[in-house]
Symmetry: C2
Subunit: 323 residues, 2 copies
């Protein structure tokens, strides 16, 4: 019932850009792609959907949207420590807009090339703008960073800075006082929201050093809680250690901390390191990662000061926040 | 920005139904699933999207929709001759409707169990009702039935009957005279449209016998044309041989043939058999498959009578039809 012929659009716009991997026996253009997985590694797969008006604004640049659609999947691979290999694209479009498709596919293809991940199949349908991308990567399953691996005494780290994408979102919704911010700060926040950098190489480099990881898509508290839930442990966080960008540090400190804790879309990694690897991680990834807390036997998430003393906040324990 | 927490819905409704395969190292609930592919086979993957108002009517039974969402993917695996293994589900929902989700997941889980295919991951988002499913299967890549393998002198077969789903669609749109049809016929057509049977075991049984195949999702002419395009060959079809169901045979013969040629959604297989395998295929799958024509060096699709004599129709050659 679709007006769009399966694959034809995808072929026109996407086939020319993709890399040509040896493990792709048959790519776009048949009933199925045929793929050869390595014999000594597991295949890591993840699927994510972005919906207009829910995950992005209607006025987003299509090139950024193409980038972000793949970035969120790459970020999931990063959180397992997997090496990107293949992806598929299910694209639902209200109409055929050549300029939009060209720009969207450019953003997608550029990031795909950077990570040597090949588009191997897809489906193009008519309907409200919706993008589902499934990514496939490879990882040694004994080293994969699962959410269930955190243990008492481990330390909690995050990569990069957090809260920036949340600042962009709240600026867009005019829910953030922007007096202290200049145009460069706003452009930076916007870039963080619309063109996140998946921490793919960091994820792979952490294999054997970090035992558990998650990417921060829903907000540090929610995402860390997934690790705690799966591992049956608690955590204590030092709010003063939360890594804030120079731009985010300009706004009211409480609001900046709240954004760092609760806002998502940064696609940084939150990962768990056992004691024997603290020094190696902090030496090897100096400037890239920050220790923000520790795994405990608490029931939930508590906050501590620089002397590891508990701080009473508005609430103790964690609950499910909405962004 | 979603009101729905990733995976949580899927876990509630879907986790309990799925089979528990040994090759799934890690299923739903982490950043990625971890899967172990067999070392001697290729992985066949395909992704399909169904959109409300485009691929199905808003009043469709959710249980049928759950069935069909997976059936279209299984049908792609069947067309490669692949054995189903894993699938992922990206579900976009306008609201959380428990009854709908229960019924949808029942339909999906029942078909999944039947084919020993396990749900290994997914994403649940808020938005207009859209279902993307990616299926993964295994196939010996030297035997996989690719669209590019048809050769001069091969014969063209289809499984089952074709045109039934198109009859249901046209009845629904009141574009078909239903005078000759009783209620059983209409129920049968409806069933064929809403609950198609993917020819998974037939696809696997055809390995080594058929060289090329496609599932009939867009209509015999369009789908066969994909094989011809990829193989650089033409075809001659004997319209009198098109397998019509008893119900479809009741309506005007020209209309029935047109539906069999041009309407999609039957999810039967169209497959190509080389001369040395004609007798084996016809003996082994007697009653299940029908020889409808031959591969030629014509430029497009022509029609022939029972004496292989060309018939002049309204058009010669094929073009892209819309359903």
């Amino acid at each position: 019932m679709s007006i769009l012929s399966e694959f034809s659009l995808i072929q026109t716009y996407f086939e020319q850009f993709t890399t040509d991997r040896d493990d792709v026996e048959l790519g776009i253009g048949d009933d199925c792609a045929l793929l050869n997985a390595p014999t000594d590694q597991a295949i890591a797969v993840s699927i994510d959907t972005l919906v207009e008006g829910v995950h992005f604004f209607a006025d987003v640049e299509p090139e950024s949207l193409g980038h972000k659609s793949l970035a969120v999947g790459l970020s999931d691979l990063a959180a397992m420590g997997a090496e990107p290999a293949w992806f598929t694209l299910a694209l639902t479009l209200p109409e055929i807009d050549d300029d939009w498709l060209k720009s969207f596919s450019n953003g997608l293809a550029k990031l795909a090339k950077e990570h040597n991940i090949q588009l191997v199949g897809g489906d193009t349908t008519e309907g409200p703008l919706t993008i589902s991308i499934q990514v496939h990567g490879f990882v040694d399953q004994s080293q994969a960073m699962r959410r269930s691996n955190a243990k008492l005494g481990d330390m909690i780290y995050v990569s990069g800075c957090i809260g920036d994408a949340g600042a962009a979102l709240n600026l867009h919704l005019q829910q953030l006082n922007d007096e202290q911010l200049d145009n460069d700060d706003k452009v930076y926040f916007q870039q963080r929201l619309e063109c996140p950098t998946p921490r793919v190489s960091l994820g792979q480099d952490l294999l054997g050093l970090a035992t558990a990881a998650i990417d921060i898509s829903d907000g540090l508290l929610i995402d860390l809680a997934h690790i705690l839930d799966k591992s049956g442990v608690g955590a204590r966080l030092n709010l003063a250690k939360l890594p804030l960008s120079k731009s985010l540090a300009k706004i009211n400190h409480k609001i900046a901390q709240t954004l760092a804790l609760q806002s998502g879309d940064d696609y940084e990694l939150c990962f768990i390191v056992p004691p024997q690897n603290f020094s190696e991680v902090e030496k090897r990834f100096k400037g890239q990662v920050t220790r923000i807390g520790m795994i405990t036997d608490d029931n939930g998430i508590y906050y501590i000061d620089d002397n590891d003393k508990l701080i009473e906040l508005t609430g103790t324990g964690y609950e499910h926040f909405t962004r």
